[in-house]
């Protein structure tokens, strides 16, 4: 998508810098990167191995620890589908520019769906840091971007319904210095948003086909929403793609 105007400018620029390049080496494509404004710094003890605890956001926006046997909420994010927002509490690692990968694993097929992102931890003043804060506004993309947006639905991947069945959550973190930690937990995803429950049950059902019409009750379950929070949390419009 170079236009002739851009190309002419590139030619002039290349020719103008040729002499200098020949003598001093050509510059890279980026100027010096701007200073890092992250303030988290190193958390905890550099002599110890990193420690992480798993957390997830409920439909009321509360970030809570998760462990084996817990429910995790399937939430309609701005991007559509259903995700589980998975984060961590961590120590003994660099809280700036941390690489977080969150995954959900189908225990039958062992297949996973993955979301990874670079983020900064929020310090809690006790040598630990967390992804996001204690309470997350689910329509605030800045807040939910601090968690792995683990994609669960549309369910075009699992051998079972992606709700009310046990799955495994796996989280891997690596800091800029290469310190790494992994943690897993067996959880049960739940279509926990009352307002969007029918659509959730439909698109998270085993064998969902893209474009399939979702009518009320298509999920095949009439069980009451499980206790995974109370707020509706429906996000605004997904803005735009191009």
């Amino acid at each position: 998508m170079h236009s002739p105007r851009n190309v002419r400018a590139a030619v002039v620029s290349l020719v103008a810098t040729f002499g200098a390049c020949a003598l001093a080496g050509c510059p890279g494509t980026d100027p010096d990167p701007p200073p890092d404004e992250c303030t988290a710094g190193f958390l905890g003890d550099r002599t110890k191995e990193p420690v992480i605890e798993l957390r997830a956001i409920g439909v009321d926006g509360t970030s809570a620890p998760i462990s084996d046997g817990d429910d995790v909420a399937l939430i309609l994010p701005p991007q559509g589908g259903r995700v589980s927002f998975i984060g961590i509490r961590a120590t003994n690692l660099d809280g700036c520019g941390l690489q977080l990968i969150g995954a959900i694993r189908d225990l039958s097929s062992r297949r996973v769906m993955v979301d990874g992102r670079t983020l900064n931890l929020n310090t809690t003043g006790d040598g630990w840091g967390t992804t996001g804060t204690a309470t997350t506004n689910l329509s605030d993309v800045a807040s939910i971007s601090n968690f792995a947006n683990v994609p669960v639905c549309p369910n075009q991947w699992a051998d079972t319904d992606a709700f009310d069945q046990p799955f495994e959550i796996e989280v891997r973190v690596t800091d800029k210095g290469g310190r790494a930690a992994t943690k897993t937990a067996r959880v049960v995803p739940r279509c926990a948003e009352a307002k969007n429950r029918d659509e959730c049950l439909c698109i998270c059902k085993r064998g969902y086909v893209l474009g399939q019409t979702c009518a009320p009750g298509d999920g095949g379950s009439d069980a009451a929403p499980p206790d995974a929070g109370t707020a509706d949390g429906a996000p605004g419009d997904a803005s735009a793609n191009d």
């Binding site: 998508m1 236009s3 020719v15 992250c38 995954a103 297949r111 996973v112 769906m113 191009d242």
Partner: protein, 366 residues
């Protein structure tokens, strides 16, 4: 265009690393949509947008709808029979940011029965709203100006039905990070078909978009990774791929993936790489013919570098306003972030387009 740069350097400098040839190249392919010759009658059809002005400072993304039965009839094809798309030609006038072709499914803010053309400008309007086509399978896409001419492998066809609608979405930019040198946009498309008995494998498409991305001053070098599975109990063959991000994008990669690994696959599994946001490669057959194991998929990664926004365009204040207005971001979370959105100048993307056979289902991953 890169050739023009090389020739200019050859003429103006003695750059030793650039090979300067005097050989005569074949005539360039058609780059003018109005000059694209249609397929032979009975073997395909052509459809196009009108030529439209793209004034300076404008981003236009517009959606044009076409009924396949009408296109087939105009192309002299039998009524009611499937369209077995085997070769696609797309010609765009310079300045295009992208064009995508979708099959219309669930209708929300876009409905061809209500409007066959929906023009949207500067990030506003239904043709900028991705929820309107979130379950519409991809048919073809290109991000390059000029001609895309792609014939699928022998016996491979994207099978479409005549009662379907197509949506041609075109995005032109005439701003600072990209321009439209002609001041006009225009797209023409040829569908070349093969007979039903020549179809051995149906082609499918995979589209994935990562919308929860943020490239911020306080987290200036982020990367985002995602996955998408074919969910096919037999191996599939990837025959086309391209990635899409904006000017903060530095590295786009796609890997063959067994769908059980959580981390990035090994380098040997990489089948697509782009470090050119405004001229991304479209890797395709015959060069790309990659077998992915049964139940496998694609692992992809988008890497970015935050750069200060243009003060002339409003600087950080403008980015923060978009972030606040669009995503309800709280004041304490504002950090001069480029977020997901339609405008090249102030938003970012991380999208993959993958073409494969045999088709399982159409696949969209969010």
């Amino acid at each position: 265009m890169k050739k023009l740069v090389v020739l200019a350097l050859c003429a103006l400098t003695a750059l030793p690393a650039v090979a300067c040839s005097s050989t005569t190249d074949p005539p360039p392919p058609t780059t003018d949509p109005s000059k694209l010759a249609p397929p032979e009658p009975g073997k395909g059809f052509q459809f196009k947008t009108p030529s439209f002005a793209v004034p300076a400072g404008i981003e236009e993304q517009s959606c044009y709808f076409f009924k396949l039965s009408e296109l087939a009839q105009a192309g002299g094809m039998p009524a009611g029979e499937a369209i077995n798309l085997h070769r696609v030609q797309i010609v765009q006038r310079a300045g295009s940011h992208h064009m995508n072709l979708f099959r219309v499914k669930t209708r929300a803010g876009l409905d061809p029965d209500k409007a066959k053309v929906v023009r949207s400008f500067n990030g506003e309007g239904e043709c900028f709203r991705s929820t309107n086509w979130s379950d519409w399978p991809l048919i073809a896409n290109t991000q390059a100006e000029g001609l895309l001419d792609w014939e699928f492998p022998e016996g491979v066809a994207n099978v479409l039905q005549q009662d379907e609608w197509l949506m041609l979405q075109t995005h032109y930019v005439n701003a600072s990070t990209q321009d439209s040198p002609d001041g006009y946009g225009e797209v023409a498309v040829n569908f070349h078909t093969i007979a039903k008995d020549a179809v051995k494998h149906e082609m499918g498409t995979l589209f994935a978009t990562k919308q929860s991305i943020r490239v911020c001053k306080d987290n200036p070098s982020p990367s985002f990774t995602g996955t998408c599975q074919f969910k096919n109990d037999k191996p599939v063959n990837i025959i086309g791929a391209n990635g899409h991000f904006h000017s903060r994008g530095r590295k786009f990669e796609m890997f063959k993936w067994d769908a059980t690994q959580v981390g990035a696959p090994p380098a040997a599994a990489k089948f697509y790489s782009s470090e050119s946001w405004d001229d991304p490669p479209m890797t395709r057959s015959p060069e790309l013919n990659l077998e992915v194991p049964a139940n496998g998929g694609v692992f992809y990664s988008c890497g970015y570098q935050w750069t200060p926004p243009s003060e002339a365009l409003g600087g950080c204040e403008r980015l923060d306003k978009f972030d606040r207005d669009t995503y309800a971001t709280k004041p304490e979370s504002l950090s001069c972030c480029y977020t997901f959105g339609p405008k090249v100048e102030e938003n970012e993307h991380c999208n993959i387009f993958v073409y494969y056979w045999p088709k399982q289902d159409d696949i969209n991953c969010f």
